[in-house]
């Protein structure tokens, strides 16, 4: 298998900071997640009203992907050949709990359709795919912890078998106020070798 692929961009959102390729591009301390992500959306000039209808996991994934893909000058008006391979540990538990609260009292039973539609983790992949016109392979894995080897093997396989020209992959975890997004783009472009050690090093940056 050809493993000569590279990482061209990577993005982190964690600890009330957004960073792109290792440089902090937005920081706002002492804000809860919902306020923080809204402040980041506005500061980073995202301009996508549907963002506010998303659940928190999708907001986190969407914003990280949007920052990275804009940096790569990906045109969201054209179809893009980018596969998505995301992962986390908590699945969609944050939204599952919100939905569960709405249905636990039989005398006050008003489940929200807008909440229910986000009770799967891979919905965030759909949100990114809609914005960037991705009609490509996408997968969302549930791992106990960040699994560089599995992400690397799977994205290499997609590239090697010509399923896509590039793969946006990484980790998008959210549970209450604990959140972390780490996404990176793998293709023939870029200067950072796509190998397990580099993925782990970037993840821990």
């Amino acid at each position: 298998m050809n493993t000569n692929y590279n990482i061209s961009s990577y993005c982190h959102i964690k600890n009330q900071q957004v960073s792109l390729n290792g440089s902090v591009i937005f920081s706002e301390e002492s804000l809860e997640f919902s306020e923080f992500i809204k402040a980041a959306y506005k500061a980073l000039n995202t301009k996508y009203p549907k963002f506010f209808k998303m659940d928190n996991l999708s907001k986190l994934a969407f914003l990280a992907a949007d920052i990275l893909l804009k940096n790569e000058q990906i045109d969201s008006e054209k179809e893009n050949d980018i596969a998505l391979v995301f992962s986390n540990s908590a699945s969609s538990l944050d939204t599952d709990l919100t939905h569960q609260k709405a249905i636990q009292d039989k005398d006050n039973y008003f489940p929200s359709p807008a909440v229910f539609v986000y009770t799967l983790p891979n919905i965030c992949l759909g949100e990114i795919s809609i914005k960037y016109k991705l009609y490509t392979e996408n997968s969302f894995f549930i791992f106990e912890r960040f699994n560089a080897e599995n992400l690397m093997t799977y994205s290499n396989s997609l590239l090697e078998t010509n399923k896509a020209k590039s793969v946006l992959c990484g980790w998008v975890e959210l549970e209450g106020e604990n959140y972390e997004a780490f996404l990176y783009l793998v293709s023939n472009e870029g200067t950072i070798k796509h190998n397990k050690q580099n993925i782990i090093t970037l993840y821990n940056t």
Binding site: K38, P49, F52, K53, P111, A114
Partner: protein, 85 residues
């Protein structure tokens, strides 16, 4: 009726997460779907839940929604006539 229209606008903005919109941006006769507020199918389901939760109105025929949710005017008129709370 005017108080109900104001309440509906506030609830729609809050429940449907219309972040960049204020009550003043919604005219009583604006189309809620299509060219007006551009609400989508999930928003329509949320409006059905809102009628049930806030006003005790259960829509049994989904086709009714098309005329009821045309505008704030049509919603307010329907609620005034059918509300049980």
């Amino acid at each position: 009726m005017e108080a109900l229209k104001q309440e509906l606008k506030e609830n729609i903005i809050e429940q449907l997460n219309l972040e960049d919109m204020s009550v003043e941006d919604i005219a009583d006769d604006d189309m809620l779907f299509g060219d007006g507020l551009a609400l989508d199918s999930i928003d329509a389901l949320e409006l059905i839940v809102m009628l049930d939760k806030n006003y005790g109105i259960k829509l049994t025929d989904p086709k009714e929604g098309r005329t009821i949710f045309e505008s704030i005017n049509t919603m307010a008129a329907y609620i005034t006539e059918h509300r049980s709370k």
